[in-house]
Symmetry: C2
Subunit: 146 residues, 2 copies
């Protein structure tokens, strides 16, 4: 139990540090980490609804409303109503958004991957497997009974 406890602690701590580390670079691209994260999902799953995006990003509706509004204001994403149900909002990435995502990714690489590429092949494989596991651990899944 203590081993799992320690590990969870370390993951928590490294997550905080990782985000602090990339924060400034992301800012250089003009986008915050949450904005980039959302944009990434939008590009990857083009045409999803705000609700789906909120679920994927594990935030509450008001939060995703605002983030998408920012992306839209920056000309990176587009919103439209679904014809068959005018309550739902469809989000798509603009060409500019897709392009900027690629740039943001490159910047992040400069910070993370400049170190990552120095790893041995074996260490890289470890990290890859760990990323799989982490995605399973923290992926969307009805987080809490409200």
């Amino acid at each position: 139990m203590s081993a799992a406890s320690d590990l969870a602690d370390r993951l928590h701590s490294t997550a905080i540090h990782l985000l602090r580390r990339v924060r400034r670079e992301d800012a250089g691209a003009g986008l915050s980490a949450p904005q980039l994260s959302a944009l990434s999902v939008i590009v990857f799953r083009d045409g999803l609804t705000l609700g789906e995006l909120a679920h994927a990003e594990q935030v509450r509706p008001p939060t995703i409303t605002r983030i998408v509004a920012q992306l839209e204001a920056a000309g990176l994403a587009l919103r439209s109503r679904r014809a068959s149900d005018k309550r739902v909002t469809i989000v798509k990435a603009s060409a500019k958004g897709a392009k900027l995502l690629e740039e943001g990714r490159r910047r992040r690489i400069a910070v993370l991957a400049s170190e990552v590429v120095r790893l041995t092949r074996r260490e890289l494989a470890d990290l890859e497997r760990a990323a799989d596991l982490l995605e399973r651990l923290v992926g969307p899944r009805a987080p809490h009974p409200k």
Copy 2:
């Protein structure tokens, strides 16, 4: 290069999701993730200075000033001046702080480790190694030339 890029992206994304995941539980303990992270360092390295803590946490001085002020207001940490140099502030954990850290840790476990303990021994070993690597990647190290 694209492999490293993808990996960096995934780590970035999982870091965001992990923190969102534990956010509510930490809130349940009355502490935010940054507060818990700082408290953890304070408990682990009792008697460090604010500057050292800021460096360990990779934030700017004003940020650490505020976080420690919050911990102090909550009765979890204590500040004192160093006799030999009255500019520097020494931070220590109170008994209450050490106790609460253990509780916060337990709560986080409930979220992360409830899944973590379900992993196979081999997966756990992967994650452990990954945590080592991540700590190396994102640990304190003069991040940017101001």
